[in-house]
Structure formats: C-alpha cells, structure tokens
C-alpha cells in the first residue's frame, strides 16, 4: 500500500491509477463484509435448525442438514433480495399512492 499511496509524484496517470485502486479496494471491502454477514447469518440460523443437541462432534446427519440448510438459506436470501428490490422500486416509481 505504501508504495501505491505514498509516492510524492502526483502525475495524472498515477493519480488515475490510485483512484481506480481505491475504488476497487472499497468494493472489495464491501463484498467481504457482505459475504461475512451472510456466513454469520447462515451459521446462526442453520445451527439453530440442525444442531438441536450438541454432542462431542458433528454427526454425519447434522453435517448433511447443515449442507442442505446453507443452500436453502442462500435461496431465501435471493428471494428476499428480489422481493425487496422490487418493492423499493415500486414505492419509488409512482405506485405509492395505492397504499394510502
């Protein structure tokens, strides 16, 4: 990072490069935060569903349950995401009056 951001020269192509670098870094941090959040939520909810009585190790049926649960949680996430985006754009573009 130091070599990228700490240089004393500030010629235009250099600045351009640093700008793009910074944008990419911001996007990456956001993507990582989003993935972490999804993983945490999956673990929270699937643990609750699949590991009802923790024993000395995960059984194979618990692991199978976790595997299925992960897939289903991600499907639920996609569904919710679709519904929410559709609703927000509906509210924003003119049909809000119907709700009143």
């Amino acid at each position: 990072m130091a070599s990228l951001f700490g240089g004393s020269t500030s010629s235009s192509p250099d600045m351009q490069q640093r700008k793009e670098q910074m944008k990419m870094q911001i996007q990456q941090e956001l993507a990582v935060a989003n993935a972490q959040q999804l993983i945490n939520k999956i673990n929270e909810n699937c643990f609750e569903k699949c590991i009802t009585r923790p024993s000395t190790s995960l059984s194979s049926s618990e692991e199978q349950c976790l595997g299925r649960c992960m897939t289903l949680y991600m499907a639920a996430f996609d569904q919710v995401s679709k519904s929410y985006v559709a609703r927000v754009s509906k509210e924003r573009f003119g049909q809000a009056d119907q709700l009143q």
């Binding site: 951001f5 700008k19 910074m22 911001i26 989003n34 999804l38 939520k41 299925r68 649960c69 919710v80």
Partner: protein, 118 residues
C-alpha cells in the same frame, strides 16, 4: 400530515438504523488522513460520490440480511429438507411485502394518532 412518497421510502425499516461494518467505516478517516489530499478536487469529488454509492449498496445489503433473517425465522418452521415445502416457499414470497406493509401501517397509525392530538 400526508405521507409523501419520500417519507414512505425513508421510513422503510433499517434504512436509518444501519451502521456500516467497522472495517468499512474506519476506511474513511484512514483515507482522509494521508491519501485523499493527494487527489485533485475533481478526483476527490468522484471518489466521494463513488463512496456514497457503495454505502447505499451496503445499506441495501444490510437490509436484505435483516429481512432474510426475519423471514427465515418466520417461514421455515419445519425440519430442513432438500427443498422448501410449498407453504414455506409461498410464505417466503410474501414475507417481505407483508413486513413492509406492516411497517407502513404502523407509521400511518402513529401519524393518525398524532393528528388527533392537534
């Protein structure tokens, strides 16, 4: 008080309560301390706008995480099979819209009560 479209949007749940994940928010002061001053005004402005866009994306994603959590807990009541049962699937499909309807209903109730007082 009439509920305007803008008011409806800004009152959607989680929109105001959301805070950025810590790693993401510490990014900004870190930038302004040493890196940003090296950019010219136009570039700074562009980066600020970019950051704002990314922050609203983060906000949207956080809302979807919260809603998924709520809807999962509400709708997925059976044990975990290979796919959702039919009732679970339709519950998930309706969950977000009904949650937001509830939210708007409550806001309107409060507004109505407030108007009665004046």
């Amino acid at each position: 008080m009439k509920i305007t479209r803008h008011a409806v949007i800004s009152r959607l749940p989680f929109c105001s309560s959301y805070t950025l994940p810590p790693r993401y928010s510490t990014y900004i002061p870190k930038m302004s301390a040493s890196q940003v001053p090296q950019f010219d005004a136009a570039t700074k402005k562009e980066l600020e706008e970019f950051l704002e866009q990314e922050q609203s994306k983060a906000k949207l994603q956080a809302t979807v995480h919260e809603l998924t959590n709520t809807c999962w807990k509400t709708c997925i009541t059976g044990s975990i099979g290979a796919k959702f049962s039919r009732s679970e699937a339709s519950c998930l499909e309706n969950c977000v819209d009904r949650f937001l309807d509830s939210s708007l209903f409550i806001v309107r109730q409060i507004e109505a009560q407030k108007n009665q007082l004046h």
